[in-house]
Symmetry: C3
Subunit: 213 residues, 3 copies
């Protein structure tokens, strides 16, 4: 039943990285929920929403089978990562910035996978790029809404949604120029990771709205 394959155009290697991205997102969910004093189950729910929320919204909008219902491996990975983090952090103190580089990799992978899935679903280029951004960033929005915070990705600061959108547009553009899918995917991921890391390193900011000033 090939229509149910979750990442039909990317290799098994990238499937593995996709699983890793789910795990990293679950960990960031645990850390934020923990700061709010949630209990074990609250933490698990926020972790699942963070890890699976973006891809779920993409699949609902495109009317595809929801990826973690079609393939339970994503759900098990997110749960295992959340539980391990929950108990590990009670024992060991992890430096918070250890997650920033894997998080950038996760953002890149999620965004490229989401954009490619939408293109394969025959959406227009702009819709496809937006599906990539949703896949990459919506989980974090959900995490912040559940934790009663303004979603961090909307606040001025390090590039996040903008890095994802740039990479998604690069993926669409390169394929329109005739580049092969997997090569375009690698370049798009490099764009996202480079913009995100540069944004964090050099505190790059987009213009904010003048009414604030």
């Amino acid at each position: 039943m090939p229509a149910l394959a979750v990442l039909p155009t990317v290799s098994d290697f990238i499937y593995g990285v996709g699983i890793a991205a789910v795990a990293v997102a679950a960990i960031t969910g645990v850390l934020e929920a923990g700061r709010k004093g949630m209990d074990l189950v609250g933490v698990a729910v926020v972790a699942l929403a963070t890890a699976l929320g973006g891809g779920t919204l993409r699949d609902l909008l495109l009317d595809r089978p929801v990826f973690w219902i079609a393939n339970q491996a994503y759900l098990l990975t997110a749960l295992a990562a959340a539980l391990a983090t929950f108990f590990l952090v009670r024992a060991v103190k992890l430096p918070p910035r250890i997650f920033l580089v894997p998080d950038a990799l996760g953002l890149a992978l999620f965004t490229v996978a989401g954009t490619q899935i939408a293109l394969d679903w025959n959406t227009s280029w702009l819709v496809a790029s937006l599906m990539g951004v949703i896949t990459g960033a919506f989980g974090g929005v959900l995490r912040d809404v559940f934790c009663n915070e303004i979603p961090l990705v909307f606040l001025p600061g390090e590039l996040y949604v903008s890095a994802a959108w740039a990479g998604a547009l690069a993926l669409v553009g390169l394929q329109a120029l005739g580049l092969e899918q997997v090569a375009a995917g690698w370049i798009a991921m490099a764009v996202i990771v480079a913009l995100r890391l540069a944004g964090m390193r050099y505190k790059m900011r987009l213009p904010t709205f003048s009414a604030r000033e």
Copy 2:
């Protein structure tokens, strides 16, 4: 493929007003996101959620193709309106109340289009009226949740959801009485605009919950 037509029973003129309603909703999203100090991308995301959120939820609930995925014009309009507002407001100081009348028109159009789409999808009358209210008002709810505010439409004050619901019920009732679709649509829109403008002008209020007092 007629099933993909977004407004199958209303004229091209009303399609144009629908596009205008999307633009106005995007502008209100920009103004609220700007007050929160969000950056350009955060503002764009909130504007898209405000402009497209109501119709998206309606289409997901009815299991229809999502309107802005089926027709990219809505997405482009919302983005263009958001970007123009973002840069315009940095240069020119607009009176905030300039948007209230177009917003009331947008509410009326969205509500009538949403109700009619649901009726054509063979829902019951009560469900159809609710789909109209969702189409008209849910975008603003999403905007306020993303901006970490209690949705304004729920607070006591000027008629908003109640105006939309009254108009949606008028549309359903007039057609049940045998009135032709487009005529019923114009009357329902007039009901919504009149109630909304009267609510703002005379500060009409629905009863609030006694526990507050």
Copy 3:
């Protein structure tokens, strides 16, 4: 059209309890929205979201017809319960704890019905248990997000999501061991009610995240 049946594997008696669960959830939504000073329409919207939100998310994720669109009785029940509560509480002062036992029954019924619907939809056991939890608890999450609160079910305290998840896993496990569907359903409901009531009575708590301490 059997595919549209909402509770295909449980009896008419349980259908009646399901309607009662919708009513109880609507009432809890009215009480929270009222504390925020919302007006009649805001209260009605929050009540509908509380009563119908969990089952709606389940049906969207499983790509089933949304239950209250397929059967208008749920919508009418939720609206009637919300309106009655709104006006009753203006006249009579109800003790707030009067709703806790029916709420526990509602949680049990929603969770068991949601899990069984997912199993009948051929999801995996873990996905099915999660669908049960979503059906039982997501309405309350939506209520709290709309009211701009951290969802109560995530905070440390009385067992809620954990009771629902334990019951859902019991339902799946007992059927895997060969127990008949309706008997397994009653046992699972008893597990949920017992855990929830014991959690309230003895203030049982799951471990919370150490970073808080």
